[in-house]
């Protein structure tokens, strides 16, 4: 099939249009929530927002799930069955591509090169504000972060 005839197929055209309109989900801010694994939502969102799985690569998630008893300074250990199920789901929904080929220091989303680039206009003092606390508190500035929506137009930085 030639390229031209391929372009006449509606599905291909639709796919191309979608690819052109929608930059990578994370870059656009609109990380698709999809249908989240209920256990992931229940267990992980007990302490922080359920970070969209596409914000880290599979290797990072694997390391995080392998060290839950020492999870960023707290014991977040789970029973073996839940650890396995959540780990498998994260691996299947992890971010892929070049930007995830290098592991961010400490497997921190906020230390990822793309994250730092996207937030380079935010000064360090903003993160220290009481209502923010740290860069990992996405919802402080992204009101719909818990739904996986990081649309730049919705950003409201607390004073």
């Amino acid at each position: 099939m030639s390229i031209l005839s391929a372009l006449h197929r509606p599905a291909v055209l639709l796919g191309l249009a979608a690819a052109c309109l929608g930059a990578p989900a994370w870059a656009e801010g609109g990380v698709a929530t999809g249908s989240r694994l209920p256990a992931y939502q229940a267990e992980c969102a007990a302490c922080h927002i359920a970070y969209p799985p596409g914000l880290l690569g599979a290797k990072s998630w694997q390391q995080i799930m392998g060290g839950l008893s020492k999870h960023f300074g707290a014991d977040a250990s789970l029973d073996a069955a839940s650890t396995k199920a959540i780990g498998a789901w994260l691996a299947g929904h992890a971010g892929t591509g070049r930007r995830f080929s290098e592991l961010p220091p400490g497997n921190r989303i906020t230390k990822s090169a793309w994250f730092v680039r996207q937030h380079d206009e935010v000064s360090a003092s903003v993160y220290k504000r009481t209502a923010v606390g740290s860069a990992s508190n996405c919802a402080a500035c992204h009101p719909r972060a818990a739904d996986g929506n990081f649309d730049e137009h919705d950003v409201r930085i607390p004073k």
Binding site: C47, H48, A74, D75, A76
Partner: protein
């Protein structure tokens, strides 16, 4: 005619029987599940107290809750010294609903969940798992809060 009635009634009898079987199965399942669903904070207190072999003391529970145990955090670091009000996660800032069952009836109604959080939080606060006596003391203190 009686014969006809007998045959006509059979399908009904069969379906009624199936219905009965289904109902008794459902009832049996419900009864089997009921104890887990109906678990209360008082039930969990009773089992921790029984395991510890000593009567729980709310003053000891309060002190345990509000004291550092050689590490950075106390229980109150996240849950506040008043467990009848909302707390805040010391590192993520996430709001934590009140610990006292009077202020939050969902607390201590699921034994596995209770054990999961005692295990994690005692490791963070005390550096080891808590004993049954410590759990019973904290729980009996939390139960002193009334609406």
């Amino acid at each position: 005619m009686p014969l006809l009635f007998f045959y006509a009634a059979r399908p009904f009898q069969r379906s009624a029987l199936r219905c009965c079987r289904a109902a008794s199965l459902a009832l049996a399942t419900w009864c089997a599940v009921l104890p887990a669903q109906a678990l209360t904070a008082a039930d969990q207190l009773a089992s921790y107290a029984a395991a510890s072999g000593q009567p729980p003391q709310n003053a000891r529970g309060q002190e345990f809750f509000n004291t550092k145990h050689g590490h950075e955090w106390t229980c109150a670091s996240c849950h506040t010294a008043n467990p009848a009000i909302e707390g805040k996660h010391a590192s993520t800032g996430k709001v934590i609903r009140p610990m006292a069952p009077a202020a939050n009836p969902d607390r201590f109604t699921d034994a596995a969940k209770t054990e999961k959080w005692f295990r994690r939080n005692c490791n963070d606060v005390v550096g080891r798992e808590c004993t049954s006596a410590e759990k019973a003391d904290v729980l009996v203190w939390l139960l002193t809060f009334k609406n």
